[in-house]
């Protein structure tokens, strides 16, 4: 299994798409070497704009360019760009401006920089906005498909990407289907729903559960908004046991989206695995262990549903 940081695949893909789609422009806020728009800046310098360390301005400028017919990808760490929430709310979402908000360095998995650079609230914020789609791919092929889709999606999108490498979980021929959850492994007793960087740990958790005689379905939810209601209703109505896992706070992200669906349906039970505190500096595995995102934590959460 090879591994790639999803920000790297994003950088390559947006660069390639821009060869044929001349409406694509990229805005960045002094992070091109981290968001991986560096290649774009060299290949398409006339369509690359670095606004400096001024994410609020970047959101507004991106909205203006979209309203004037361009397809801007506005890029920074997720915490900084989504941190300009009110600008996004007004200039992007309310205008229904065709802006693609790209937030890299999602979650505590970024490691050593610590909490100030870790986005753990971003999905929650973006999900509250009408018109805003939220997508978090889990590996390289999925990122490629997601970026291709997003470039031609009509309306604002928030794309959440990793700093760290994440293992390939899809086959090379995989096709990204917006809004559709992807079953990676079948299982009859419990469903483990994840998104983004945690998928490998979820697959390992399913192995741990199998060793205990529990058959766990593993599902990758790359589109967080609109959430795949139909799929969630189907599992809630069958075995009815759902664990959600995400490198994001337990408020507002995948766990919330699934819980909302399950609560309205009135069937099924949910356990949310996610971040509950301000995290800290450290290595990714150490952080996932300390803040409850390891395969062991996920399997324990599933066991708790098995009474």
């Amino acid at each position: 299994m090879s591994a790639t940081a999803t920000r790297v695949t994003f950088g390559e893909t947006v660069c390639r798409l821009a060869d044929t789609n001349t409406d694509i422009v990229v805005l960045d806020a002094d992070l091109r070497k981290s968001t991986m728009t560096d290649e774009f800046s060299r290949k398409h310098p006339e369509r690359f704009f670095d606004v400096g360390i001024a994410e609020g301005n970047m959101v507004g400028v991106g909205a203006g360019m979209a309203l004037a017919g361009k397809i801007p990808f506005i890029c920074s760490f997720a915490c900084f760009v989504v941190g300009r929430f009110e600008q996004i709310r007004m200039a992007v979402a309310y205008n229904r401006a065709n802006v693609k908000i790209v937030g890299t360095h999602a979650g505590i998995g970024i490691g050593e920089d610590g909490y100030s650079q870790m986005a753990t609230e971003d999905v929650g914020l973006m999900r509250t906005l009408p018109n805003m789609a939220v997508v978090q791919p889990a590996d390289a092929v999925e990122t490629r498909g997601a970026v291709e889709y997003i470039a031609q999606h009509d309306g604002p999108v928030f794309l959440r990407l990793t700093r760290q490498k994440v293992a390939d979980i899809n086959d090379e021929g995989y096709e990204f289907r917006f809004g559709k959850a992807v079953v990676l492994r079948e299982g009859a007793d419990v469903s483990l729903l994840g998104t983004g960087a945690v998928m490998e740990n979820i697959l390992n958790a399913a192995d741990l559960l199998a060793a205990q005689g529990i058959s766990a379905q593993v599902v990758n939810v790359h589109t967080l908004k609109p959430i795949d209601t139909e799929f969630i209703e189907s599992i809630a109505s069958s075995h009815g046991k759902i664990v959600t896992v995400e490198d994001h706070g337990i408020h507002g992200g995948l766990g919330s989206a699934v819980s909302e669906t399950v609560a309205e349906l009135g069937r099924g039970r949910v356990r949310r695995v996610g971040v509950t505190e301000f995290a800290e500096s450290g290595d990714t595995d150490g952080l996932y262990g300390k803040y409850g995102l390891s395969a062991e934590h996920i399997s324990v959460a599933a066991m708790e549903l098995m009474d």
């Binding site: 002094d30 100030s116 450290g282």
Partner: protein, 272 residues
């Protein structure tokens, strides 16, 4: 403290910064080294503070708005006696108080958690304003970077400090002319930056940010200025003191290898 003594401490702090970053394997050497002399002058000469009583209510306040350069502050606080120096070597490791960016709850000797650029000056304005409102005579110091002056909030803070009559506030801009992706002038120039601060009604000084006589004079002039806040624009060199890091954006956010670290320390100890 004499000028040579301050220079000696600054050199030790630079060595500590390099050692910390080598151990951590990540971090920001360039901007830590460019602000070292400013941080040294503040903690070892200018500021009223008590390492044995960190929460002394009348202490001067210091906000490092460019939070990624906190290794220089950790090294200074350790040298000043706030906590054991060995602990600095746990920088960026799991369970360490030495967070990659300052965390006020894990490490109470920093006044404010920072790391999202553009916000620290507002917090410093708040501390200075609280001092005025509370009849306290402590002073508030804030080090900001040049790149972060591209953020709109810096200029909101800039507008508010004179309005509130904050002559107890002194900001220092670490003008090393380089940000993460390249030169500040190429990315989004601040010039004419002195005129900007002046136009926002700040008392404005420009100095060599690596000259202790100049830094001390400016800090004293700021303290004696009673008509609003002072901005000291400090001309600095990113990576100051380590020849292969100086003026190179590549060393903004990359830790030296062990071998590079040894070369850097050797230069700092014997070269300068």
């Amino acid at each position: 403290m004499t000028i040579p003594e301050l220079e000696a401490i600054a050199k030790e702090i630079r060595v500590d910064v390099i050692r910390m970053l080598v151990e951590a394997g990540s971090g920001h050497p360039g901007g830590s080294l460019s602000c070292t002399d400013l941080v040294t002058a503040l903690y070892f000469h200018q500021m009223r503070h008590r390492p044995e009583q960190p929460d002394w209510p009348d202490r001067d306040r210091f906000v490092l708005s460019k939070g990624h350069c906190v290794p220089a502050v950790y090294a200074a606080l350790a040298r000043a006696g706030y906590f054991p120096r060995e602990e600095t070597l746990s920088l960026r490791k799991l369970n360490s108080r030495m967070q990659g960016h300052p965390d006020r709850h894990r490490f109470p000797y920093v006044e404010a958690s920072t790391g999202s650029l553009g916000q620290g000056l507002s917090v410093a304005v708040g501390m200075a304003l609280a001092g005025k409102a509370g009849g306290k005579d402590y002073r508030t110091y804030c080090v900001i970077s040049d790149g972060e002056c591209q953020a709109g909030q810096i200029w909101e803070a800039a507008m508010s400090a004179p309005r509130f009559g904050l002559d107890n506030l002194c900001a220092l801009m670490d003008y090393n002319h380089i940000q993460l992706s390249g030169g500040v002038d190429e990315i989004m120039s601040l010039e004419p930056v002195l005129d900007k601060w002046r136009a926002f009604n700040w008392n404005t000084l420009e100095i060599d940010g690596h000259s202790f006589p100049a830094i001390l004079d400016a800090l004293q002039a700021a303290e004696q200025h009673h008509d609003g806040p002072t901005m000291i624009v400090c001309q600095t060199v990113k990576g100051k003191g380590v020849s292969f890091m100086e003026n190179r954006w590549e060393w903004h956010g990359k830790a030296p290898s062990r071998e590079e670290g040894e070369r850097a320390v050797e230069e700092l100890v014997n070269g300068g």
